[in-house]
């Protein structure tokens, strides 16, 4: 779960890290009020993706009227597929210098990595490629966290020795997000040193491990349902499906993540485009199939559905029966091609044929067939 900036900052504040005064605004009027209360502000789009600034999602406002106009422009705009639901109005800081501080998971090392750099305010990937030596790194022991002398060395290595004590204290506070909140990314960029010498989080990125939501109930309750993403993904989540929206016209259902991904690839190879990724898992139960088809059919762009099932433990005849029931319950009229292989595949295919559903001989042929059928079909309106 990726938190919005204002949410991440609330969490940082709860860990004892200083953040600038700020207010959430759902409307231009609220943005104007925030500016009247806070003075000059940055009006910032709240979306769970990077690159807001470049997309025009951050504007400076020195008067309430400017803040109102900025919010009018930003609320509702589309940033990388996210419609901006609200803005965060934050008091402008008197910046003396900008630092980078972040924890993330280093997959190659199978460990958390802490990075600190005097070059803040830029994308850390860019800093890493342009001046790798300017980033100091530490792999804290995951059982006890970073020790004082390790942080001391890190701070000097980053050339930030003069900020040693306050910086080390701040890093220890941020580290708590790892063991206590199951953060997989906790980043402050820029970490601002103000002209008066305070150290304040200028921006904040916090991602909580989806696998750990069962023990992060507070975060889930506070922030879990607030991010307005894609409506189909929202609905799929409600139904407990593993679903990702894509921009093509062919709905996809597969059992198993790898198989499902390879099905998207086949559709593109056949000249089509997948409308979604949907992994219904090994069991492929009838109820799950119906839920998946239901979400896929909500999307008016979908012109046909390709289902790719490999029956390992799953029996194809059971999946076929479930699919026929689901199609009938949903009164589905769109072209449907099913590729089924594995346990009881002959029985499964026979059931499909008897019910007017095209079984594909193999995954590649099935992909070609659905692309052909959806090209021929008139667009739904």
């Amino acid at each position: 779960m990726k938190l919005l900036e204002y949410q991440a900052k609330e969490v940082l504040a709860s860990l004892g890290i200083s953040i600038p005064p700020g207010r959430v605004a759902h409307s231009p009027d609220e943005a104007a009020e925030a500016c009247a209360a806070l003075g000059p502000v940055a009006v910032k789009a709240q979306v769970p993706v990077g690159g807001r600034g470049k997309a025009g999602g951050i504007k400076l406002a020195s008067t309430p009227e400017e803040a109102r106009r900025a919010a009018e422009q930003i609320i509702g705009m589309d940033i990388k597929g996210y419609k901006v639901p609200l803005v965060y109005c934050e008091a402008a800081l008197e910046i003396a210098r900008e630092i980078y501080l972040g924890f993330t998971v280093d997959r190659d090392a199978r460990a958390n990595i802490l990075m600190l750099s005097s070059k803040g305010g830029m994308d850390i990937e860019q800093v890493a490629s342009e001046s790798p030596d300017s980033i100091a790194r530490l792999y804290p022991n995951p059982w006890r966290g970073p020790l004082g002398f390790e942080l001391n060395a890190l701070v000097f290595q980053a050339g930030l020795g003069e900020l040693g004590r306050p910086l080390m204290a701040l890093i220890k506070k941020l580290y708590r997000a790892i063991p206590e909140l199951d953060a997989v990314t906790a980043e402050i960029n820029p970490l601002v040193v103000t002209r008066s010498g305070d150290i304040i989080a200028g921006d904040a990125k916090l991602e909580i491990d989806d696998n750990a939501m069962w023990r992060q109930l507070d975060l889930d309750r506070l922030y879990g349902s607030l991010i307005e993403g894609d409506p189909y993904e929202v609905e799929a989540k409600k139904r407990g499906l593993i679903y990702v929206s894509l921009d093509g016209e062919i709905g996809i259902i597969g059992n198993g993540a790898g198989l499902c991904m390879s099905t998207l690839d086949l559709v593109q190879r056949a000249g089509g485009g997948a409308a979604n990724f949907c992994d219904i898992g090994g069991g492929a139960r009838a109820e799950v199939v119906e839920n998946a088809l239901g979400v896929i059919m909500m999307n008016p762009r979908v012109k046909g559905v390709l289902m790719n099932i490999f029956g390992g433990i799953t029996r194809c005849d059971e999946v076929a029966r479930g699919l026929v029931t689901a199609r009938d319950n949903l009164k589905m009229k769109l072209p449907l091609v099913v590729r089924m292989s594995g346990t009881n595949e002959e029985e499964g295919r026979a059931i499909l044929k008897a019910n007017g559903i095209e079984p594909g001989a193999n995954a590649w042929e099935a992909a070609q067939k659905i692309v052909e059928l959806t090209r021929a079909a008139a667009p739904r309106s």
Partner: protein
């Protein structure tokens, strides 16, 4: 011959009295796996599926001489189960459980550094099978047949799909290892490939990767330094968008890292043939 698992490997199942654990332990027994016991705290002293149940892995190892374990316990308990197995002296640990928090796995990986002879497979994996001989995990025996192709994969159903195609074409397998779809894993592609390299009963290799991380790139580098195995690689997720988790917790492209293109190019640079679809694998291997 095979890697990791053969007819003499003494295996236990942690969570043997649970629904999943019991179902798959039965399948393991049915194909001849030397299943010598299981654990289920509080049920020590009882018998399940004809094998003894113990309260702790330590007790199970002491009584049965087990060296391998399959873990079928819920994600909240699986990290501890892995560490318990390692601490009890188990040297092959296959953790099937999906949904373990990443921070737990990072701590487990650190713990395992103290037990260098313990090999972890998974988590979030189908386990491993030496066709016709033994299995730990959930790979269906019927998609396999004994032979000389090594198969290593991050995906479950894609493994079954490819295993099934190989078997149908008469290309049996020495061992099939599903290393799992999580971002923080036990054995890597490189670890498993090195084992196949040293196994003279394996002469060909199929590597099934997917987007996310750079384990495939490291494996390609290893193969590029010289290999006696004829190898075919396949990567799923060519059309996956950046920043979206594609089912597996580890299947995510971050920025420009972990793309299918980068992985395919790494294999090609190493002189490894890359299959464009799973259907092509059999043809390229023969």
């Amino acid at each position: 011959m095979s890697i990791l698992l053969d007819a003499s490997t003494r295996v236990i199942v942690q969570g043997i009295t649970g629904r999943e654990g019991a179902f798959h332990a039965e399948q393991m027994l049915a194909m001849g796996t030397k299943l010598v016991g299981g654990t289920s705290p509080g049920k020590g002293g009882t018998t399940h599926l004809g094998v003894p149940v113990f309260n702790t892995v330590y007790d199970a190892v002491a009584a049965t001489g087990a060296t391998a374990s399959g873990i079928f316990v819920p994600p909240a308990f699986a990290p501890d189960a892995i560490m318990e197995a390692a601490a009890a002296g188990v040297t092959l640990i296959a953790c099937i459980t999906e949904g373990i928090p990443i921070q737990d796995m990072i701590r487990v990986k650190d713990f395992l550094r103290g037990y260098p002879s313990a090999r972890l497979i998974g988590p979030n994996c189908p386990g491993l099978i030496t066709p016709g001989v033994a299995k730990i995990g959930i790979i269906p025996q019927r998609i396999t047949r004994p032979g000389s192709v090594g198969l290593v994969s991050r995906s479950g159903t894609l493994t079954y799909e490819v295993g099934s195609a190989l078997s149908a074409a008469g290309m049996g397998q020495s061992t099939i290892v599903g290393i799992g779809g999580d971002p923080v894993l036990g054995l890597t592609f490189s670890d498993v490939i090195s084992l196949f390299e040293a196994d003279l009963a394996t002469d060909r290799l199929v590597v099934i990767g997917e987007i996310g991380g750079s384990d495939e790139e490291h494996a390609a580098e290893l193969l590029g330094r010289g290999s006696r195995l004829k190898t075919i690689a396949f990567i799923s997720g060519r059309t996956a968008p950046e920043g979206k988790r594609m089912g597996h917790a580890g299947a995510i492209i971050s920025g420009n890292r972990g793309t299918a293109k980068s992985k395919e190019e790494a294999f090609r640079r190493a002189g490894v043939a890359v299959a464009e679809t799973t259907d092509e694998i059999v043809g390229l291997l023969s």
